[in-house]
Symmetry: C2
Subunit: 168 residues, 2 copies
């Protein structure tokens, strides 16, 4: 396969994967494009490569910066801004985990804590089932939370290697 074709396929596949995980397809595609670019790209280049509008490119790049996956660069003598993507996969995985933890896990745990305090008759099956389910999900969520904390604190990439032996 030729590089040009492979690039398109990678961008497409990354976009599809993103959309399956609740991430805007275009945002994932811009991310893919930047990850495989040795040099930082301008908004114009992103627009041209992916055939998207200026507004879309701008908002998407801002979002990627918010996710900690892309950084703005300025080149001396150049008026326009350049965008460069983090390329270390462990750092990328980390950033995504951090953001999703902050955006989704923490809020749901807060709600589950509130719901666990529901009042009712201990003999009512509806009450018992509700309480048990909510409590169990809360416990799992807290375990995921703790595991992520420890994982994110770790400086090196624990994923390549060490974790597997726990399950052996």
């Amino acid at each position: 396969m030729e590089l040009a074709e492979a690039k398109l396929k990678f961008i497409e596949a990354w976009g599809k994967l993103g959309s399956e995980w609740g991430i805007n397809r275009t945002m994932a595609q811009v991310h893919a494009l930047l990850m495989i670019s040795p040099e930082a790209l301008t908004t114009e280049e992103v627009m041209a490569e992916l055939s998207i509008s200026r507004g879309n490119a701008n908002m998407t790049l801002r979002d990627l910066i918010d996710w900690g996956l892309v950084e703005k660069q300025h080149k001396t003598g150049e008026r326009k801004e350049f965008f460069y993507a983090e390329k270390d996969v462990w750092t990328i995985a980390r950033r995504v985990a951090e953001e999703r933890k902050k955006r989704e896990l923490t809020p749901i745990i807060k709600i589950l804590d509130q719901l666990g305090a529901v009042g009712g008759d201990a003999k009512d099956p509806a009450y018992k089932t509700f309480k048990t389910t909510v409590t169990d999900i809360n416990k799992l969520a807290n375990n995921v939370n703790k595991t992520l904390d420890t994982m994110l604190k770790a400086e090196e990439n624990w994923f390549f290697g060490s974790i597997l032996k726990v399950f052996k």
Copy 2:
């Protein structure tokens, strides 16, 4: 908080979480409703509780069955079908992991394998960056894959307890 209010909040929160992770909001809500129901429910009951159409309820319940999260039950003397949700959170997490692995991880690894075989000039920065990025993502994907395999093979819930000590 009263049970009725808490139920609504739980269903809403579960629906929101689902949609953030690429799962149809209604499907997540039906799942939430069934998880907190001590008894299996009929299509009619699901429709009424969540104010959704028959078609939607039917398709959503079928999807939940495909995910291995809900089972059809038949009661003697009753003509209609009943739907009952798995309630053990570890089993639920497992089923979701299994399905997403099958639906998303395996296909992307296949594509990454193909893309890794791209031909090009080893001195071309565009080629080098592409190859490195794709290869690194492929390695990570394969590690996730292996970890999931081991995790899914484990009979008991490793998550509550043992895993944390790896990171200590």
